[in-house]
Amino acid sequence: MSELEFRTAIRDALAEEIERDPTVVFFGEDVAAAGGVFKATPELHERFGPERVFDTPISELALAGAAFGAAVTGLRPVIEIMFGDFMGLPMDSLANQAAKYWYISNEQGSVPFVVRSAVGAGGRFGAMHSQAHGTWFQGIPGLKIACPSSPADAKGLLKASIRDDNPVIFLEHKRLYSVKGPEPEEELVPLGRASVVRPGSDLTLLSIMRGVPDALAAAGRLADDGIDVEVVDLRSLRPLDVDTVLDSVAKTNRLLAVEEGPRTGGWAAGVLGAVAEEGLHELDDVWTLTTSETPIPYSPSLEDAFLPDPDAIVASVTERLGISTAR
């Protein structure tokens, strides 16, 4: 069976949508001639020309503002804000101009654009090139936030995001770009819908992006200890699919949410709150595994210890459940 690389999934999704819809344009810093600093967008410029795919100045506020203005006047822009950490710069355009347009215009128009960024730690990029900005935007009505964990979902979610009539913040984890996986079975993956990626009956492991393959690895090892883990991939942070999590918890009665980020203000704590509010009677136990409440460190020894990995997930589960492992 042929396998798809995550970065190729991104490139293919863009190519197919640019090909399919003449209003789709793609621009950002070094995305065209250079093909993207993570090599996620090579050859699009050569294939579709400078009218559809072009490089811009290093001006994140202008980039997002231009995407907003273009989106309300007939184009469907996809832009790249290179690192998610840079999303502080275009915040006004995204949080104020784009997010509120559909509602405050009394539904005269919406903002069909996608803002792609590389996110996440583990690449030794230091505190200002390693964050995931999903939670920065999660509390803003009017935005959708997609955060795929596999090549197939990356392709289907990006295609769905480009076709969506609303602004979508699209997160691509750096430690997923080189991951390979099965080709998509469906062309589109709906935004705002979680996925059960491994069924189980004893415990629900909930995560996004790089946390999902980590959770699957942990689930495999916990199976050796007789713990049957269900892994749920949220896939979107807004809209938040609490129902799929509640369905899972109804089976397993235990929930561990694994987040690459601090607990305070994080998505994991938010999901736990919703699950407690709507499914308390189903719960035997619920907790989070997050990072410390510090910025992300650079040194490999510090960064490795900072990140929740399969070892940390296994340790958290066995400790919480009071199980001594075979190892």
Binding site: T56, A62, A66, G69, A70, V72, S105, E107, P141
Partner: protein, 324 residues
């Protein structure tokens, strides 16, 4: 500065219509001031009285399908681009018949049907919106205009977007309404170099410093800039120097402005100047007076209808987060 006698020859009747538009804005703002003081308009207002020649002159150079982005001092931008005064007044009053159903309010008016992509309550936002609209406009044979104040020239939006629009040769016209005060602070005290046009020149945009209280001068500069944009020659910066008759917002009496400065600007009221110039042409007093009467009646009808309109009902507002 562009002189006052350089506009292309045109029928006086066309200028009578433009004068009427300026009067419409002046009367509208007067009504907004009155209604705010009466407690009918909520939150805050930013009135554009004294600055009417800029939006009217610029929009007179545009096609209906061209795009405009305005500021929180944006009632004039909306009216000059064609927004219905009754729908605009109803929006200010928070009524269901408002141009945005009462959801937006004074600072955030959107009227896509008339090419108003939005008015932006955060300084400089209009510059980005028009820059983006120009990306679409380039593919549609249209032009996008950003109105913004002198304060916006100190925002990142101004510098990033002028550069962005220039390197991409976008069909944009950047119209700075320099009223010499950023809120309560004199422009010269917070603007290094004190020269906004020079900033555009640094980015190699064509720039024009325009007497913003002269309808003919604004129109002449706008015609040239719009033609440049539409022909693919890229963006232009127009610095239109003008003055607001009211303070920055709601209760601000603008006591920080020297009396002789205010008197000097009031003596150059754009409405008076336009009226006098119309009478110097072949138009007669009775023709101008008839147009003025019509404009007064239009505003009276608009305000009365807006005040009679219902507030939106929270039970059937049906606000949806997303477009399906």
């Amino acid at each position: 500065m562009i002189g006052t006698r350089t506009a292309a020859a045109e029928a006086p009747a066309a200028y009578l219509d433009r004068y009427s538009q300026m009067l419409l804005i002046r009367l509208f703002e007067g009504e907004m001031h009155r209604l705010f003081l009466q407690g009918e308009i909520h939150g805050t207002t930013h009135l554009s009285s004294g600055q009417e020649a800029v939006p009217v002159g610029v929009c007179s150079a545009l096609q209906p399908s061209d795009y405009v982005a305005g500021t929180y001092r944006g009632h004039g931008h909306a009216l000059a681009k064609g927004t219905d005064p009754e729908a605009l007044a109803a929006e200010m009053l928070g009524r269901a018949t408002g141009v945005c159903g009462g959801r937006a309010g004074s600072m955030n008016v959107i009227d896509l049907e008339h090419g108003l992509v939005g008015c932006f309550g955060i300084v400089g936002g209009s510059i980005a919106a028009a820059t983006g609209a120009a990306l679409s406009a380039a593919r549609q044979g249209r032009v996008a205009v950003a109105f913004f104040g002198d304060g916006a020239a100190n925002q990142g939006y101004f510098h990033e977007c002028l550069n962005f629009a220039k390197v991409l040769a976008l069909p944009a016209v950047f119209v700075c309404e320099n009223n010499f005060y950023g809120e309560f602070t004199p422009m010269a005290e917070v603007t290094a170099g004190g020269d906004i046009a020079a900033r555009g020149a640094a980015y190699r945009l064509p720039v024009r410093v325009v007497d913003g209280n002269d309808l003919w001068a604004v129109r002449a500069a706008a015609l040239e800039a719009v033609e440049n944009a539409r022909s693919g020659a890229g963006p232009t910066l127009l610095e239109c120097q003008t003055y607001r008759h009211y303070g920055h917002s709601k209760w601000d009496p603008a006591t920080y402005r020297p009396k002789d400065e205010v008197d000097n600007w009031l003596a150059r009221d754009p409405l008076d100047r336009a009226r006098n110039r119309l009478l110097e042409s072949e138009l007669e007093e009775r023709q101008v007076a008839a147009a003025e009467k019509e404009t007064h009646e239009c505003i009276e009808r608009a305000i009365a209808a807006a005040l009679a309109a219902p507030f939106p009902d929270p039970d059937d507002d049906g606000g949806r987060e997303f477009r399906e």
